[in-house]
Every structure is written in structure tokens, then in C-alpha cells.
């Protein structure tokens, strides 16, 4: 039976189970589901040690944190102790992090226990987890299909009930799209709500740290620990996140017309319409709205993000840490060969596109144009939020696609992000909510988007619908 964070905490507090037993169960489930290849490393030794510490404190009647004894998984681009942090790349194959990410430290302080590190597209570049240097992760519902990505491993361990929650990073949909493909909740907060410190940087202006869980209530519990200002990440905002019960009986919700047309599978459109019908039945007002620049958001994204990627990934040079090519004579050769061997093809595509759009002569036409277009897109969002509380779209245009189906065509792969990229560019909070499945039993997700800092209300709305739909 699927256990929520609330269930686990209640059982531990009542003495019906222990932190050690919960960690051992999670580790056993992880081994049982090894064939999905969702995890790159288990952090067994450290996890059991931490569990014993928590059990000893509970036994002594000492105070423990709010998530004491709850096992979780981190995407392997979060610096965390207990196993190497690889970012699913050969470049960082043996990298033992000297510090932990701020959010990992916060969750540990709250008593949560990391049991393993999940697979991803190398450096979080991709939408299927097929770009991992260590092999593909299989979808929780159909092992011939992709997990989605880039946080595919974290989505699958949550969907398979190995752990009640897992961490992911979301730059353009890397939490929401795999959540949709695996039938669970996936949350990307407002830009700046959560510290990015200690997470392998991809595109600093849209990188957000969030989580996967099987209930909206669990999402809120985890985000309450993760949220808050960090003096190691100057873009973080003073903490405003307080989980709330849904207070507004009648929210005004806009369905973005441009996300319901061509290029969206009938199954996905149908499930989204069903979800809209249940929102109306629950007393919410739902209207169709239009965002004319939304169809261009993906082009903006694939200029801005590669530009930031090329800059952020310049640090991997084989000098101070990470892979260094052997048998090189010159420094230039050391850089060039180490990077060529350490990055996967998609990393190279993005770095080189970034170098292109930032080159003198092209800067105005691409990068500057994209940042201006971003202003227009944000203006359309804020115009709609003057009138609507939330916006809605499908999370992805399709259900999980077949393994290998899109790998030969990077542009086709990018189109999987078409719905999730717009809120990322605007820094808005967004959640993928399970919204049924197609005839083949493959899950479909609906994306709810809120204005800046509406995180608590947005999660509460998604939870209220969960109750309404049973």
C-alpha cells in the first residue's frame, strides 16, 4: 500500500515502526525495482547510520525534526554525501561532493533520510533521461517507454512507491513533464523561493528546485522545509511559503487556448477537458484565454538556456576536479579532450548553440531578441493574472513516448517541453497534477500555473481537486 509522508511520520511517532525499518524497506524496494534503472547509487551506509541516530533520539524522548525518519531520493545533480554526485555524466563519475546542497542540508536537519541518487539526462539536458551516460530509466507504467526528464529517475522512484518524495530540478519542465509521464505530482516553485546552492547549475535564470510526491499535501510538507532565503544563493527571496488549506471556493481559472490545439494528442486534450469539467463541478470558474506569444516560448527557451548552459558548463575543464583526459600534451588539448570525453552529445549541442547565440554579430539577433520576447511573454502572463487566479494547460502534448522514438531528432525532443517552458521563462510556480490516463493506461498530467509567490494556494488548489476526484 502506498504510504504518504503523513502516514510514515504517524507510524514512527506511535512506535509502530522505526526510522531504520522505513529506510530498510525503501532500500529493499529500490533493489526489487532495479530493472527500471531509476537510481544510480544507493547511499545505504549513511542512510542507515542516520536512521539509527534518529531512532536513538526518539527512544531517549529527544526532539526530532518534522520529517524524522522519512526516506527520500535526490536527483543526482544535487550535491549530497554518501555516494558520488555524477550529474549522470562521465565527467563527474567519481566526484565526491565536499559540501551538500542547501536543500539537502535542510531536509536532513528536518530528519528526512536520503537513501539514493536518481538518474537524469546528463547535466539535466533532456526530456527523457535517455541522455544519461549510465543508461536509460524506464517508465513506471510501461517499461518500453521513457520516464520523461530530465528528472526521470526521481519521478519513477516516487511513482513506484520506493520513497514518498524525491527531489528534482526544473529548468524548463524537468520536474513537471516526468511527473505527468508517471502519474504523480511534480512541483516547480516560484523562481527564488528555494535555494539553488549546491545543485549543478544549468541555466541560472530559470533553474528551480522542487519535488515529486504522490499527494499535494506531501508536496506542501516538503516545500515548507525547502523554501527560504539562503545567503549562498543571492537570488533567493525572503520566505513567504506557508502551506494553506484551499480557502477560495470559487477560483477563476484560465485555460490557455494555444496549448489545446494542434500538436496535442487527443488523449491528452480529452483528459484535460475532463479535468476542467471537474474544476467546474467543484465550483470554480474556467474560461478560455489566449497568449499570442506562447507558441514562440520554446524558441526563446532554446536560445536563453543554451546561452546560460555554455557559460555555466565552462567550469568543467578537467583541472580542479572531474574527468581529465589522459595522454594529453598541451593545456588546450587537456581542456578539449576532457570536455569531449566527459559530455554527452546533447551537452555539446547546447554548449555550441550557446556559443553561437552569444557570438559577436549574432548576439542581438538571438540572445537579445529572446530576452525581449521574454518580456512580452511575461507581460501576457501578468495581464491574465490581473483577471485570473490560475492558468491551466496540459503538462505535455503527449503521454510518455517510446524509448528511442525521439533520440535522433533533437528538435522533436524539445517539443515535449512546449507547455512547461513558458512559466519557467517567467519564473512562475507551476505543478503537474495527475489527471487520469489514456486507454492504454498511460498517465496524463495537467499543469496549473499561478502568479509569482502564489505557491501555497497553487498546491492547495491541486490538492482540493485530488479530494474532489476521489
Amino acid at each position: 500500500m502506498s504510504q504518504t509522508i503523513t502516514d510514515i511520520i504517524a507510524s514512527i511517532q506511535a512506535g509502530q515502526t522505526s526510522a531504520r525499518a522505513e529506510v530498510e524497506t525503501a532500500l529493499a524496494k529500490a533493489r526489487e525495482h532495479e530493472s527500471y534503472h531509476a537510481l544510480l547509487h544507493l547511499t545505504e551506509e549513511r542512510a542507515l547510520q542516520r536512521a539509527d541516530e534518529i531512532d536513538a533520539r526518539l527512544k531517549a524522548g529527544e526532539k526530532v525534526g518534522e520529517l524524522a525518519g522519512v526516506p527520500f531520493v535526490v536527483k543526482d545533480n544535487f550535491l549530497a554525501f554518501g555516494a558520488p554526485t555524477t550529474a549522470a555524466s562521465k565527467l563527474l563519475e567519481n566526484f565526491d561532493a565536499p559540501v551538500q546542497a542547501t536543500v539537502v542540508e535542510k531536509l536532513e536537519a528536518a530528519g528526512a533520510i536520503c537513501i539514493g541518487k536518481s538518474n537524469l539526462d546528463a547535466f539535466a539536458h533532456g526530456g527523457s533521461t535517455e541522455n544519461s551516460a549510465y543508461g536509460v530509466t524506464h517508465n513506471a507504467f510501461d517499461t518500453t517507454r521513457v520516464a520523461g526528464g530530465s528528472s526521470g529517475g526521481s519521478a519513477v522512484v516516487t511513482a513506484l512507491d520506493i520513497v514518498p518524495f524525491a527531489l528534482g530540478s526544473d529548468t524548463g519542465g524537468s520536474i513537471r513533464q516526468p511527473a505527468s509521464f508517471n502519474g504523480i505530482f511534480g512541483y516547480k516553485p516560484t523562481y527564488g523561493m528555494v535555494s539553488r546552492y549546491g545543485v549543478v547549475a544549468m541555466a541560472s535564470s530559470t533553474d528551480c528546485m522542487g519535488c515529486f510526491a504522490r499527494t499535494a499535501d506531501d508536496v506542501a510538507r516538503v516545500m515548507a522545509i525547502m523554501a527560504g532565503q539562503d545567503d549562498k544563493d543571492m537570488t533567493t527571496l525572503p520566505n513567504y511559503f506557508v502551506p494553506t488549506a484551499p480557502s477560495k471556493i470559487n477560483a477563476k481559472i484560465g485555460v490557455i487556448k494555444e496549448t489545446m490545439g494542434d500538436g496535442v494528442d487527443d488523449d491528452v486534450r480529452h483528459a484535460t477537458e475532463q479535468y476542467i469539467a471537474s474544476l467546474r463541478a467543484a465550483g470554480h470558474t474556467v474560461d478560455e484565454v489566449s497568449m499570442p506569444t506562447l507558441p514562440l516560448a520554446l524558441a526563446m527557451y532554446y536560445i536563453i538556456v543554451p546561452a546560460e548552459v555554455s557559460s555555466n558548463l565552462a567550469r568543467y575543464d578537467g583541472i580542479r576536479y572531474g574527468r581529465r583526459a589522459s595522454g594529453v600534451q598541451t593545456l588546450a588539448e587537456l581542456y578539449g579532450r576532457s570536455r569531449d570525453e566527459g559530455f554527452v552529445t546533447e551537452n555539446k549541442r547546447r554548449i555550441m548553440i550557446g556559443s553561437y547565440v552569444l557570438s559577436s554579430g549574432f548576439f542581438d539577433a538571438y540572445y537579445q531578441q529572446a530576452q525581449k520576447a521574454r518580456t512580452l511573454l511575461m507581460g501576457e502572463f501578468s495581464g491574465l493574472f490581473n483577471e485570473y487566479d490560475f492558468l491551466l494547460s496540459p503538462t505535455a502534448p503527449t503521454v510518455a513516448f517510446g524509448i528511442g522514438e525521439n533520440t535522433s531528432d533533437p528538435v522533436k525532443m524539445y517539443l515535449s517541453d512546449v507547455m512547461t517552458v513558458p512559466p519557467s521563462l517567467a519564473g512562475l510556480p507551476a505543478i503537474s497534477v495527475p489527471a487520469g490516463e489514456n486507454a492504454a493506461g498511460l498517465p496524463i498530467g495537467v499543469q496549473l500555473i499561478g502568479p509569482m509567490k502564489s505557491d501555497a494556494a497553487l498546491i492547495a488548489l491541486s490538492g482540493s481537486m485530488e479530494v474532489h476526484r476521489g
Binding site: Y191, G192, M234, T235, R320, R337, D340, Q371
Partner: protein, 96 residues
Amino acid sequence: MSTISTDDVRHLAALSNLQLSDDEVTALQLDLGNILTYIEQLGSLDTSHVEPTYQVTGLENVWRDDTVRESTVTREDLLALAPEQADQSVKVPKVL
């Protein structure tokens, strides 16, 4: 349709510090051309009176005091991460 030559690919690889194999150059020529064709559609958008957005929450420079702070990380921890070390330093090939 954007076309990009193998020389363009090699130039971008040099700018990006990537020493590509010939096979990679051929494959990337096709991929990068397709990606550039896709992103070029943005050129059709009229942005003549629009300011660019670089930071979405409106923050500007955030300052802190320039003071030394305690770290949990030691010099030895960091040196141990380097692929080659000698005499308490990171070793690299000859530069000059």
C-alpha cells in the same frame, strides 16, 4: 532553413573548448542546423519597443559584507578532488 558548414561547427567547438571527432562534426552539423532553423522563427516577433528581461524577480545587485567566513571544507578536501596533484598544488600540463 539554416545551414551551417563543418568549418562553422569546428569554429563553435573551438569557442566551446570541445575537441570533436570527425564523426561528431558531421552529426552536429545536421543537429545544430535544425536547432538554429527552429529558433530563427523568433526573428519574426516585433520587439522594437521592448526592454529585455534578464532577471525575473526584479532583483538587482545583492551585496554582502566582504568578510572571511568559516568553511567546513578544507584545502586537503579540495585538493583531493583534483585529477593530479603535486606539492600541495593542482598539477597541469606545461602552459608556456
